[in-house]
Symmetry: C2
Subunit: 123 residues, 2 copies
């Protein structure tokens, strides 16, 4: 169950624009290489834990529970930087990822499925 009264700094909580389920999108990026590793979701408490523990914590929409990335797999994410976007509904979480980020064993969740876009160019 989500925690109704989270420990999140009220000054941050006031800037969040949550969806109907009380969540914001969290884009997770490898801090040095710039790889986009995965996307998760956070409620206020998951963000609070992410900001204060040095480990990324998400809200699982399927399991309806908190999960600390790597808690069972060992593929932990060490938080380096967390930023909120201009309209308050998306977080960018820069981490140092141990091992693969994806549950499939791939480094990132975007490695497997290239949609073969037509490339655009200004010239």
């Amino acid at each position: 169950m989500p925690i109704t009264k989270s420990g999140l700094d009220p000054a941050i909580a006031a800037r969040l624009k949550r969806d109907a389920n009380g969540l914001v999108v969290a884009v997770v990026q490898q801090y040095d290489s710039g790889e986009v590793l995965m996307v998760g979701w956070m409620d206020d408490e998951a963000l609070h834990r992410t900001l204060t523990t040095g480990r990324s914590t998400f809200w699982s929409r399927s399991r309806q529970d908190y999960w600390v990335k790597g808690e069972t797999s060992g593929n932990r994410q060490w938080v380096k930087d967390v930023r909120l976007d201009c309209d308050g509904d998306t977080l960018l979480v820069k981490v140092d990822q141990e091992g693969p980020a994806c549950h499939t064993g791939d480094r990132t969740c975007f490695d497997a499925d290239d949609l073969s876009a037509v490339m655009g160019s200004a010239s």
Copy 2:
């Protein structure tokens, strides 16, 4: 109004896991520097247009309409690569961004609000 019958390749459409509004998250990244520029939303038709026109197209949840990034501002995004994540609910769109990506004039939508996370470390 969203288009109910989109031109999206049915083989791709079958892999999408859309939210209750028929949308998937689209993370937009500068293709060479790795900067995460912004996050938008796409329905099937927005993805179809993104994959086939060389310009990123989103579904605006606030305006309830399609928008081609840079159409009014001139800050266009030229598509380089589009990938779908492991569970089909998030796209990674690599682009070449002209000018600032953020409506505030910042290069990215994540430049302004650092949440001062406690940094984690394996050691």
